[in-house]
Subunit: 220 residues, 2 copies
DNA sequence: TAGATTGTTAATCGATTAACAATC
DNA sequence: TAGATTGTTAATCGATTAACAATC
């Protein structure tokens, strides 16, 4: 399995985000202190693994007592970069992905969408009320990245345009790419890249349904 | 890592979907025959792993020669259940998720959306031209599942409603659930479940960006 | 036949789990 | 102090990779 440059498993990072959401829920439920076993119940993740994941970053709990919910949540947020805001330019799929923005937590709190650009002319000029942004032509990509000082580019165009849009984003100066298309894109070594392949994940469901005996649950 | 009920790793299934997309591309590019190393180049996956994944389901290639692209693609499609159409009811997030439908391959070819239901009153009655469907109140959930004989339910509501919507879908008779919320939902053992946690995957990007040295690429 | 690549087995590597010492 | 749970180490488990025999 892949690791981050600092030797911490990628899966640890994705789970940290899951713990964060669980802790937020706990806080809303008025829980001040929690045990690893409590987080395990909410997330379906083995308490031992939870403690292991946390231990990569330090000791956040108290032996014999547990974790202070708010304290742990804030630390995980710090680790995940949630306390820094990253200006984000979205390319393509104007309306869809982005109304997503109204639904809390589909994007991490650190993503602030500052421009939406689309290759499809029909969408140009469309106003997105939730974002307070108007969809612009793809020609504006570079100027938008520069003017708005965007650090993240979301690639959500048709697969055949994924690589060229990625290149444009990198040239314009983003340092991270989230690729929602189903093709692999290549970026320089100093650019962070996350591939999100929804179709591939949903195929698990299709696979399970076509088997005589539907399979057990899967957690991603 | 989790496995399907038949002992095949979940990750093998998600990769199969990735191979399928690569093969489709190859076919469009006019390639008749390919090697595991070719698929590897397109997907970034080790050829050895590709052959291993395929071997769970049989021998689809010819030693010394390679694979017939179309033949292999059709077989993978068969394995993944792409040749069966599953009627799908989407709950919540009306407009967003679903315009997604116009973007090929964000949903596997076996998902046919037959109804869209939303808990948000403001969206009721909105017509979705790409789907030819009108967003309905959540009260219609059960009747829609039954009337349209839906087998898949997509849960894309606010987290606090995720479990109750899931329950309603199961009671109404779906056999598979795709959960796009960031909370864990529970289903009976005979119901297939896939959790899609976009926020958790994107947090990898946030994590990488906040480190002094941005990390290497990640593939999901 | 010689060259090549699959399918499969064995070796490696890494991630998860269990167990427990440390300690609140 | 006794009871409890963390943080960490050791054991297990599973997934990936490398190597190669089979064979087109």
């Amino acid at each position: 399995m892949l690791k981050t440059k600092d030797g911490i498993p990628k899966l640890t990072i994705t789970r940290l985000a899951i713990y964060y959401n669980a802790l937020k829920k706990m806080l809303e439920d008025g829980e001040d202190v929690c045990l690893s076993i409590d987080v395990g119940k909410r997330t379906g993740i083995n308490p031992s693994l939870i403690r292991k994941d946390l231990s990569y970053f330090g000791g956040f709990g108290t032996k014999g007592v547990g974790y202070k919910v708010e304290f742990l949540m804030e630390w995980i947020g710090e680790i995940l970069g949630y306390n820094t805001v990253w200006n984000t330019v979205v390319v393509g799929m104007g309306i869809p992905l982005l109304s997503i923005n109204c639904y809390q937590n589909l994007l991490p709190p650190s993503f602030r969408i500052v421009a939406v650009v689309d290759t499809n002319e029909q969408n140009h000029g469309v106003f997105l009320p939730e974002l307070g942004l108007t969809i612009e032509p793809v020609q504006n990509l570079e100027s938008e990245v520069r003017n708005k000082q965007a650090r993240i580019g979301v690639v959500a165009v048709l697969p055949e345009k994924a690589q060229s849009v990625t290149n444009q984003l990198v040239i314009a100066g983003v340092t991270g790419i989230a690729n929602f298309t189903q093709v692999q894109v290549v970026v320089p070594d100093n650019i962070a890249l996350t591939q999100i392949n929804t179709g591939s994940l949903l195929s698990q469901l299709s696979y399970d349904l076509v088997r005589p005996m539907p399979a057990l649950r899967s957690i991603v």
